[in-house]
Amino acid sequence: MQKEMAYSFPDEVLKHVFSFIQSDKDRNAVSLVCKSWYEIERWCRRKVFIGNCYAVSPRMVIRRFPEVRSIELKGKPHFADFNLVPDGWGGYVLQWIAEMAGAYPWLGEIRLKRMVVTDESLELIAKSFKNFKVLVLFSCEGFSTDGLAAIAASCKNLRELDLRESEVDDLSGHWLAQFPETCTSLVSLNISCLGSDEVSFSALERLVDRCPNLRSLQLNRAVTLDKIANILRRAPQLVDFGTGNYAAELQPDVFSNLAGAFSSCKELKSLSGFWDVVPAYLPALYSICPRLTSLNLSYATIQSPDLIKLVSHCPRLQRLLVLDYVEDSGLEELASSCKDLQELRVFPSDPFGVEPNVSLTEQGLVAVSLGCPKLQSVLYFCRRMSNAALVTIAQNCPNLTRFRLCIIEPKTPDYLTLDPLDAGFGAIVEHCKDLRRLSLSGLLTDHVFEYIGTYGKKLEMLSVAFAGDSDLGLHHVLSGCESLRKLEIRDCPFGDKALLANAAKLETMRSLWMSSCAVSFGACKLLGQKMPKLNVEVIDETEPPDSRPESYPVDKLYIYKSVAGPRFDMPPFVWSMDEAVKILH
């Protein structure tokens, strides 16, 4: 009876039903129902997301999903953002492109994060995929404007080119001119990462002119304030705009031109850029401020009074990125003006200064938590914190999904009581039941990890630095956090015991990073031997780990689940603990 039901729908009907299922999780669930559903699903999956490019090989992906149109790949571990992953570690996309060039002629979208992309890769993309539409290179490196020129020239229907936060070698400013006159399809262009002389402004203007669907445009720092008006008048349909330089001598005609250009953009909801801001030009934005939902002022070195004035004009603000020049007073104003705020990121203006240079403390964050009930996502750099403040924040904002606190000096205790901040972070995980991402800082003992293991049931990503007393801490997290996918740890006294006792847990996670901890080489080897589904990689730039006693701690350790086996592109300073791979290069 059940067998008949499974076959009672023709494949075409099932295919049609499956086409409404977009999320990977759901698609994976569908494919597990029965063999025929697995087969049908795999032939009609169009989008693949691979959170770790080494977890699976291109060939395996192609074999299972033969008709993919969109792929997203992530390469280096997150700590690569802070220079903890040495150059040459890996994350090369070329092999993926090469294999997909043959297998997916209709591939239209490639999104990469923290990968090494060479000009050769870009040229291969340009010539292999006739229907190429979307290229997003988020925090990537390894390519130059030559590669971009190839993309611009060949991709006739390019819709999105987004280079956010990537490192690009400037060789020539004329790559933008490579977009043919016939290219009118651009919807999104983000070149904010490019250095000074890399963009031909006249080519940019002409491009903007002929792309009526352009919704999102982020300029780079080289574009001066006087040019903004020209661009905006050519693209009044913009929804998301990133200025270049926002500095010029105050001139009434420039100001009114700019203000007029902004006011003509009736759809504009999101602003960014604002390098080198001259506050006198901020009022040019006032006409669009009531509509703004997102404001990224994290490069704007303007002081609190100017920030307060601007923010008080933006009652619909949902997302604010700002430097700590905003100070507690600015955040108090934010709390009273912007009741829809969902995301706040406060970056340090002087991260390496020993003394505070601005009056930004835990009070600012407490004020926002009190005034903005919809707050979900916080990234906050400050120099002092208290358990009481954290408890207040936790109670005010039970809907937090992301909470990343960075107290700049490692191991700073509660400034009021000098206690560790265990209780404060404990309150965060206890009250915020949907918390998915957490970054810890300050003085913390094993107790905080006990709280996290007990309450952090939905926690997917945890970042730990200079915390804990013993393996017990790590054990609490690995044994308690059921949803944990990514764990990154630096400078903590965690050794072999917790890791080995929870080895099986690692197979349920995407990855684990541990650097400057106390995991021995012997334990790494054991993990590599006993856990074939894990790639255990030891990173050491000074000497091979087996030139020292086995009990010696390794410098850096990166463990990730993989069905592809050990990788072939490891540089000399990365050692695989897989038994099949020779330890000595």
Binding site: F82, T301, D422, T445, D471, P549
Partner: protein, 256 residues
């Protein structure tokens, strides 16, 4: 109530790898089950010394905690947690982390005495010579670090800073790192120029990075590509000129 880990206590000096039977460890255990699963391994209980540490950190009695942490604030507490963590008392190789907390080696020390080299590049080195203390801390992306160099004035005198505020000409302004290639080595490396102030220091770091022994330093010459794309010998120009005009570096074997 302290959690009891069902793990074998390693006899000094090495962890007895044979007694870890990971195969018998299926899915990760809940906290409650762990105590009862202690059959395979002897229990590891936190001893009295550890309870003292836990008391100091856990209890809210401010007197005990303030006595432990009041001197020097963070620095005092750092020392305590590493020195007294139980596993570091065992008779095995004491990891370098212990000693490095007391290490006050200056970040820009370019002394190439081998033992210093070992310390600086030691696997657990917390302080590396990036001129700013801890590597990767605070966790701010490289290109955000440079914001604080700008004049925090909103006034008219806030000049548009040249993209090369860090003094390294011709590069995207966000990084003081330049690419270094060595002849014959396929993978390029990156080096942070802001921590070097002389050719000697730079060369020493490069030698270490590429693993060239100090015995014969003359076999390699340092060349650089300037903003115009020409390749020049580094030692032919003064340091300041070099720094301002270089785009990338290459070590080549000198002939003769």
């Amino acid at each position: 109530m302290e959690l009891q880990l069902g793990l074998a206590l390693p006899p000094p000096p090495l962890i007895p790898i044979e007694t870890f039977d990971l195969n018998s460890y299926g899915n990760y255990e809940t906290r409650e089950a762990l105590g009862s699963n202690a059959l395979s391994w002897p229990l590891l209980k936190l001893g009295p010394a550890d309870n003292d540490i836990n008391n100091i950190h856990h209890h809210s009695s401010s007197s005990s905690s303030s006595s432990s942490c009041s001197s020097g604030g963070g620095a005092g507490c750092k020392k305590r947690s590493f020195d007294e963590a139980p596993f570091f008392d065992e008779k095995r190789n004491v990891p370098k982390t212990l000693h490095l907390l007391l290490w006050t080696n200056q970040p820009n020390d370019e002394d190439d005495d081998p033992s210093n080299v070992l310390h600086e590049n030691s696997s657990s080195a917390i302080f590396k010579n990036d001129g700013e203390g801890l590597v990767g801390w605070p966790p701010v992306k490289t290109w955000r670090k440079k914001v604080h160099h700008q004049i925090p004035n909103g006034g008219a005198e806030n000049n548009r800073l040249p993209a090369v505020e860090n003094g390294i000409g011709g590069r995207a302004s966000k990084s003081t790192y330049v690419k270094v290639k060595m002849e014959g080595v396929p993978i390029a490396r990156k080096i942070d120029l802001s921590v070097h102030h002389s050719f000697e220091g730079l060369t020493n770091t490069l030698m270490r990075m590429f693993g060239i022994s100090d015995g014969n330093p003359k076999i390699f010459k340092l060349t650089y590509q300037d903003r115009e794309g020409d390749w020049l010998l580094a030692e032919d120009v003064p340091w300041r000129t070099f720094i301002c005009s270089l785009k990338c570096l290459k070590l080549i074997r000198s002939r003769g």
